[in-house]
Symmetry: C2
């Protein structure tokens, strides 16, 4: 049987999975990323884990296991160089060259990209975007990421860092963003941005007091499902903002679908209904009816590994 390995490198944990040709994760392991300050022992341990997974699967299959490659999704991962460059949230500093280090152990293709690009490619290889030549993935979470497929290929651009629609400026002179600029989409539709909007709306309604304790986007989702008017207004606002950003993205590449994934998107209709209405309202007439908004078809706890594993299919 033929398998790919997907590596989802986060600042805290690294999740690894052995993935079949049709996208089943048959083995899973993890490594504590933040336990490493050096890259060499990190990769050495990773390759031990890879050996373990392959051996466990050989026992199950009762036949040789063929590995077609290792795909890595990582924050700041650069497709062209195959390196993670000085990621601010990693304990390992400097330039981490995955291909070079992994090849000390195994002569298989190694492909690396950032996590949002990997998620988009996972949707393309294993999920709802199969067979689509043009689509865009928006990932909502701590930040807002995106991955763009044009003519069946991930757009990496001249630098390898294309597809940063979370940092397209939605409002000139808008909210301060962690990137140092103002008004980025991320400041409105990330989990944090959604909470900020909720607090602002709550304050406007005179109900917000700081001692109300911590609020999360998940709580705002629950409140919306209970009919809380401020929560519903929050999602309507976020839907409107995201719908505008998506309509703008369509003017670029005229995709046939825009996919959505990530924690805040799990709220469902309180977000999706105003999102679809806003998208229709803001979409240029010549694109009407040509592009639909869809939820990712990959499971939330599998998408990162599947996306990373899918990257290998680019090389094949």
């Amino acid at each position: 049987m033929k398998y790919s390995i997907g590596v989802d490198m986060g600042g805290t944990n690294t999740d690894l999975g052995l993935v079949t040709e049709n996208g089943n994760i048959v083995q899973r392991r993890n490594l504590p990323t933040n336990a490493y300050t050096q890259f060499e022992p990190y990769i050495k341990d990773m390759m031990k884990v890879v050996d373990e997974m392959l051996e466990a699967q050989r026992t199950i299959d009762g036949e040789a296991v063929h590995l077609d490659g290792i795909g890595v999704g990582a924050p700041n991962g650069n497709f062209y160089t195959g390196c993670v460059d000085n990621a601010p949230n990693l304990t390992m500093k400097g330039v981490l060259d995955f291909g070079k280090e992994i090849h000390k152990y195994r002569d298989v293709p190694v492909v690396l990209s950032n996590d949002a690009n990997a998620a988009a490619y996972g949707e393309y290889v294993y999920g709802g975007a199969k067979g689509m030549k043009h689509f865009i993935m928006f990932t909502l979470g701590t930040g807002v990421g995106s991955g763009i497929v044009v003519d069946g290929k991930l757009v990496h651009g001249s630098t390898g860092a294309a597809g940063e629609l979370g940092h397209a400026i939605l409002y000139h002179h808008g909210r301060k963003c962690s990137c140092g600029r103002e008004g980025c989409l991320e400041t409105y539709t990330s989990a944090r941005g959604i909470v900020q909007t909720y607090k602002e709306l709550k304050a406007e309604s005179g109900e917000w007091k700081d001692e109300n304790g911590e609020v999360t986007s998940k709580m705002i989702g629950e409140l919306a499902h209970q009919g809380d008017p401020v929560a519903l207004k929050t999602w309507a606002t976020v839907g409107d903002q995201l719908g505008l950003a998506m309509a703008n993205a369509v003017t670029f590449s005229a995709p046939e679908a825009i996919f959505l994934m990530g924690g805040p998107a799990q709220v469902g209709e309180p977000l999706l209904k105003p999102l679809r209405e806003a998208f229709d309202k803001y979409l240029l007439n010549i694109f009407q009816g040509s592009c639909t908004i869809r939820m990712s078809e990959l499971k939330a706890n599998e998408v990162a590994i599947l996306g990373a594993a899918a990257l290998i299919k680019m090389k094949l």
Copy 2:
């Protein structure tokens, strides 16, 4: 010698040119587009003109003239279908199938796209974007158009109509656009948008009276070069707006250059200086230094024909 033919179809005139491999227009003709209400006689006359150009060139060259194809740039031109569909500003109505009609006369490749895409591809084949894999062209004129090249290919998207950055919404609930929506880039940085900004700024300064007569973007350019403060402020505003739009476009495809062309762009430094400053200010940190703003290297009176002729190179 080998030549391509470029056809620039406008609502009033159709300009044709015979183009050498390295982008010299050696023969030019034109047809009055608006004299035709039927497509068949329009193409019949066009093919007569094509024959004339080829014959004239054969006489000059003293040898056989090889035609590698006919490229057509047309408003609403759809690359995938090869048709112009119900263009509102044409006297010929319905679906105009260029390939089908031209092939009644000549068995050569026919490629059609909209004018902004053609301009971008002209820059790629004959101009300053030679050898670039990722760039974007913005055309300023009556409207604002764009053409996008990703991985060395024009982005047409799932519908054939990708690359409409003039209708990306710059300001939520901004100026009313001819497309029926609000806040499109075009309403700010087209010739008309620039004039509107000038009038608004003039009114703010208390100087504007409607009886001042017609104002054009060209006049505002001349005033800026004479040091007129309202004209300078107009271009600074337009530069800021366009710089923001360009920085947003970079988050999509991380191009190595953004090209600019069209009448209003000819003003030069009064626009370019604030444009570059705004672009730097609004560009996401990870893209700093990776993308430059450049003027088109093609002559204003040649770009449409060269762009159309360049489209043929996609087929070859």
